[in-house]
């Protein structure tokens, strides 16, 4: 893989925590420049000027981190364009000021809890997608019965793969006999609490899916057909 592709691939590991999708898929990477000497510059863009600044900062600082970790990169510059906090965030990133150094009095401790909140939501939504998929494919199945479904019972599809990844992110086991419907600590639900747990999970999934649709739509409206940084799939050889 050439360096441009490697840098682009690395950016694919940066996820919008709220939407649970990579920034490269979302079209947030406006441009990527890699010099022969190993300097990298990235411009990011978001659907609106008023997207939440904490999420904006998380994605921009994650982008800088993943690029700095590549063994050939030298100077890495990440800049967020057209945001109400562009000046603050870009200055913070340029000086490696960290979260508190960037936002000063508006920051208390860290964004770890925020990240954790959205890791849990991502897991909840992935779980619901699998279980609602089962319910839709088998109209005879009751909501109450989904409490018994194990990872091994799920069809081997994208929804299951996504669920396993979210479980891994939370430190949950991914053995075939593990129950699917569990909370973020891996605890399952009593039979009479199963329908409510599924309903709550559903509202989380609808929220995340809806936000992702809206953000993509707004980005398209805002920037039209302006090109983004892009790597043809054929140019990326994913290492085993």
């Amino acid at each position: 893989m050439d360096r441009y592709s490697a840098a682009y691939h690395a950016l694919g590991a940066v996820v919008d925590p709220e939407l649970d999708e990579p920034i490269t898929d979302l079209g947030f990477v406006r441009s990527l420049t890699v010099t022969p000497s190993g300097n990298v510059k990235v411009h990011l863009r978001l659907p609106t000027s008023f997207c939440s600044p904490n999420f904006a900062y998380l994605m921009a600082s994650d982008a800088k981190d993943v690029l700095a970790k590549l063994d050939w990169t030298r100077r890495v510059v990440v800049e967020l364009d057209d945001h109400h906090d562009s000046a603050i965030i870009n200055a913070g990133l340029a000086s490696d000021a960290g979260y508190r150094g960037t936002f000063g009095h508006e920051a208390d401790e860290s964004l770890d809890e925020l990240r954790e909140t959205f890791r849990r939501k991502a897991h909840t939504a992935a779980m619901e997608r699998c279980l609602t998929g089962l319910l839709r494919s088998d109209p005879g199945r009751t909501e109450a019965s989904v409490g018994e479904v194990t990872l091994g019972d799920l069809p081997d599809d994208d929804a299951r793969t996504a669920l396993l990844r979210r479980r891994h992110a939370l430190g949950l086991s991914t053995a075939p006999d593990d129950l699917v419907l569990v909370d973020h600590t891996g605890r399952n639900y009593q039979p009479d609490a199963v329908p409510m747990a599924l309903r709550r999970a559903r509202s989380t999934r609808i929220s995340i899916d809806g936000n992702a649709h809206f953000c993509r739509g707004l980005l398209r409206t805002r920037y039209g057909t302006e090109a983004t940084a892009f790597v043809a799939l054929s140019a990326v050889t994913i290492p085993n």
Binding site: S52, N54, A107, R199, S203, S207, G210, N211, H213, G217
Partner: protein
Amino acid sequence: MYRKDDTSYFIVDAHVALWDARPENQRNIHGKQFIDCFYDYHRNLSPESEVWTYEEYLYQGGQRLMKDLFDDGYVDHAIFQPAQLGEFYYKGFGQTDEAFELASQHPDKLTYNHNFDPRNGEVGLYQLREDAKKYGLRGVKLYTAEWHGESRGWRLDDPWAYRYFEACRELGIRNIHVHKGPTIRPLDRDAFDVADVDHVASDFTDLNFIVEHCGLPRLEDFCWIATQEPNVYAGLAVAIPFIHTRPKYFAQIMGELLYWIGEDRIFFSSDYALWTPRWLIEAFVDFNIPADLGEYPPITTDQKKKILGLNAAKLYDIPVPAELQLPAADETPVGPRGADNLVGA
């Protein structure tokens, strides 16, 4: 009034604005960013035939508003919910004098709600009392992401906010419309978190909290809170235009709201001038849950009547012709009366 297939719908548009975002009113780049963001919402979610030019979008004026809402838009009564945005616009975003004058000329058609900012302390409290008298306030619109000097947001459960809610109680301001926007200090937390609504709704059970955009982008947290607090309501501003671009998503929002909080606590809003009411009302009356979303029951005509007007009319004592009135439904199975049994579910 909207009529379709021999059925009449009394329409209350629970969230409208008369704004001025023209360049001469923009205090800084953020004034432009703000209206551009709104215009992108408008362009992104409107049918092509309903898209305005950018110039039209910057400012409408009272005459245009009256035409869009009442001549063309089927609306019987509309409620102003102005945002101040004093850090972005010289004379503010919502045009207080113009809107109030219009409401005074058409008291049968328009209600003027005002706003307050608890960070204004004692001076703001005094002002709220004056405003309540001057405008005859029944409700207020609160935007928690308003910037204020060094601060870029506040929470409904801040101690000073409580002093303002106590004043609301005393002044007869019963309806608190809450708009959650991003940027809340500290940035450590989710900026759209609606937990503060839970706290104030429990502590001020005699006030009604109407959460605009039904808590989007945190629908799930909003629904959960609203099941437990009978004085929490969902405003459909920004949610309802998805009916055109994303009908399936809109169906899911409606399915969730009806399941969790029930048909008596949901309000139609066009969010004028973000969108115009005519096409939204027509589309909503024609709308139903698509067949492939078998997890939700169909939306009934009576439910639509309540959402389009009867619910908000009740909260604001807006007279509704007797033949159009409907009785309240039972609480949802997950509603407030059962909430205590659901703790930990």
